[in-house]
């Protein structure tokens, strides 16, 4: 049996899962390369950021790319073309605090598996992948990986993760400040007090952001009752409470309310929110993260 929070390499990306990812990758590419390219937000969202030139506007062009300054001068609609941004960076931000150790499998393992899948898709494409781990004491910044050959490095880094300490997503988001273009995917359970504030910090990075909230069944429906002294896994704070069925159902509602509040905050800040609760399917969550 695995120790709490340990991630087996083979279990992160087993051959069957890789095959599923390859199919997902083909599907995503088919959609992006089609006649409606640019209408969807996708993995290759970075394409078109760098200026390439102007051409006359044609019906069907994205109005957002019309050069309105040129229109003011020329009184003609001019379409601003860009070069495909093939080296965009995908920032994977993982909450590896102690609260992620709960659940079976643990929330951290679920997050690592999703991060590994995204990293695999990016490294096998043309994107760079950066890994930011928030585990209380912070982590030394490392340069992004690029290329298929870096997949094992990514997986090794993920498997080495252990839940510890208290998370500060705001701090992690601060580490992304200054990043140029790209996508930031943040994996967290979102139950800490600063989760909502972290969303604002993420949005302020200027990156396209996605927050994946990972929750276990235990958090939605506690499997214990009686007169208890509840201990916060990260802060060590305690709370005396007599837990019964009424309390359990009330807790479920409270967790749901917190999730909805977090989702609303993400919506207001332009951050995509994806919930990955205990019974969710990995590929479904992945597709929602990638905007497929």
């Amino acid at each position: 049996m695995e120790a709490r929070g340990e991630v087996a390499v083979t279990s992160l990306l087993d051959p069957a899962f890789v095959r599923e990812l390859e199919r997902l990758k083909v599907e995503l590419r088919r959609r992006l390369d089609g006649p409606h390219a640019g209408e969807r937000r996708g993995l290759r969202r970075g394409a078109g950021v760098e200026y390439a030139g102007h051409r006359p506007y044609a019906p069907g062009d994205d109005l957002r790319r019309v050069d309105w300054n040129a229109f003011a001068r020329l009184r003609e609609l001019v379409f601003r073309t860009t070069l495909p941004d093939t080296d965009a960076t995908v920032h994977l931000v993982l909450d590896a605090s102690r609260s992620m150790a709960f659940g079976e499998p643990s929330k951290l393992r679920v997050a690592c598996r999703l991060a590994a899948a995204i990293g695999y898709l990016c490294l096998t494409g043309s994107e760079r992948v950066g890994l930011h781990v928030e585990a209380g004491e912070g982590s030394a910044p490392r340069p992004p990986w690029r290329g298929r050959a870096r997949v094992p490095s990514l997986l090794a880094a993920l498997e080495a993760l252990r839940p510890a300490g208290a998370a500060s997503l705001a701090r992690a988001a601060g580490a992304l400040k200054g990043a140029r273009g790209g996508l930031a995917v943040c994996f967290t359970d979102g139950l800490d007090e600063g989760a909502e504030a972290a969303v604002g910090r993420l949005a302020a990075t200027g990156l396209e952001c996605c927050l994946v909230q990972v929750l276990s069944d235990e958090e939605l429906s506690p499997a214990f009752d009686g007169d208890l002294e509840l201990v916060d896994s990260e802060s060590g704070e305690t709370l005396r409470l007599s837990v019964d069925e009424g309390v359990a159902s009330e807790l479920h509602a409270r967790v749901r309310a917190l999730s909805e509040a977090l989702e609303g905050q993400c919506r207001r800040r332009g951050v995509r929110y994806v919930g990955a609760f205990g019974g969710a399917e990995a590929l479904s969550v992945l597709a929602r993260v990638l905007g497929a």
Binding site: P105, D189, L230, G279, E281, L283
Partner: protein
Amino acid sequence: MEILTPWGLAALGLLAPLVALYLLKRRRVRQEVPSLRPWRAVALARERHAGLQRLRSRLSLWLHALAVALVALALAGPFRRSRVEPSSRLVLVVDTTASLGARDPRGGTRLDRAKEAALAALEAQGPRGEVALVEAGCAPAVRVPPTRDRVALRRALHALRPRGCGGDLAAALPVAADRLRGASGSRRVVVITDGTTRAERLGEDLPAVVELRYVGAPTDNVGVTGLSLREDGEDAGVRRYAVFVGLWATAPCAAALRLEAWTPRGTTLVALRRARLSAGRASFTLPVTFPEGGAPALLRATVAREDGAPDGLSEDDRAWAPVPPSARLPVRVVTPRPGGSPWVLRALRADPGVSAEEVQGTPAVLQASTMEVFNGLTVFHGIAPEAAVPGEALFLGPSGARAGGFVLGLPVRGARLTDASPTDPRARFVPVGDVHPLAVRSVTAEPGDVTLVGSTAGPAALARDTTRGSSTLVAFDPDRSDWPLRASWVLFLRNAVEHARASLTASGLDATRTGSVVRMPALGVERVTVTALDPPGRRWSLPVQQGAATWVETDATGVYRVDRGRGEEHLGLGLLDATESALGRASLPWRGAVVAEPSRGAQGTTELGWLLALAALALVVTEWLLARPMRVRGSAGSVPTTPLRDGA
């Protein structure tokens, strides 16, 4: 409920440290959760119901506190006064004399109430105590010796029935006291009676703790308390009788007295008297002649109320007397030689009710007198057998060292007679101050002997009553004194005759009262049979010993047929007891007896401590079941939750 040791309640002080410990060290299981954030929100919402929650959460405290309180109360020795008798042995004395057959206002008889009281006392005694049952009827009888067998006791109680006789309740107490011997723990006698009984012959000290429980209520009653029949001459060849009837009424009433000639073939009314009776005794003397055909076997007297009011007791409404009355008492005077006792014969023959004859005291006669019962009075003058003589005997100046069982010493010349017994009927009206015997022989008195006449040399006249009869000894020769010249001489002999007549009447077929021992002389037969005719049913076969059969079970009124080889004879037994007929409630003259209500047993105690201790234990177990270590179905890292599925 009362408590035995109030200091045990001090254990209630344990409640204070219990509450303190509970509040300070309330047991809680630590449970790690990912984040307290949602839990705090829940806890905040629960604060609104904090009161109810606190109460629920402190259920263990309440249960523990209640258990401590119960234990403290148990230590205090709580007990409840109950009707459990504390005594380890109880003797129930139940009065079954005739008055217990009286009608009770609540229905049934007084004996039914007595049985209820006895059963109540039996139930209150508890299963571990021993109980004996003594029936105080005509004579006391132990029905059940001390036992714990409640079934046998109840069966014996239910078998009790009112007897048709009176009795001495005091005589049952020594019997009851005897059943208390050897009992450990407390001992008690419960006497259940209606108080309508004789109970005089009790010593100063009661034999044990005696509780009196009276049953029954005063009831109006009329009864026959006396009946006798005497010849009163003849009219034209028809014998005339004078009938004396005594009645008792508890209240003024109108009553009818019927006298009937009883024969086995039926009854014939011979006299009727209607009278207005006042409360108390009343007596009537009625002349009676019997119709042609001769005298009947018995005369029956019946009294009945004529005012329509119910009569309390039916047992005393009838009485029987034999007809004709007893013949003249046969008296034989045994002398050493013929004509040796002229003064004795002269005095005896002066009584028309006596048939006296002189018998020479040959050795054969003396020997026979010790073997056979003479149905009369035997006077031994100057000579006597050494052994005791059955029946009625009078010894005058015997010459030997032994006479009729008496041991005599040397004669004391010049001894002077001092006094005569004032209470014994045999010395009644016998002044002896002017009697001067020549010499008085000293006599060795035995326990039970009654000194009739005293002298300076010791008892001059002794009486000895035994079950075989009564013997009277005069320790000097009347012929060698001036006593025959005194009037007291005739009175002394008349008293002896009357005593013998009374004794023979009581032991012969002349007996008319229930409860008396009937001695029936019977010669030439081995057994005497007695058969009840009215009411029919019972039959006795009595062995004949020393010329007589003894019938003791005379506890029911009615007519009996006696067969003792003389043809059909009849005997009537009536209650004839004014004490039993007076159906009021008397208070027995027993000092030191405790009068208890019949509905209440003596109060015992029931320990409740063990019950409270059990209750406390039950509370502790309940608390353990409800508040045992909190059920934890899982924890972080081990909770089986649905894994995030990998595939579609």
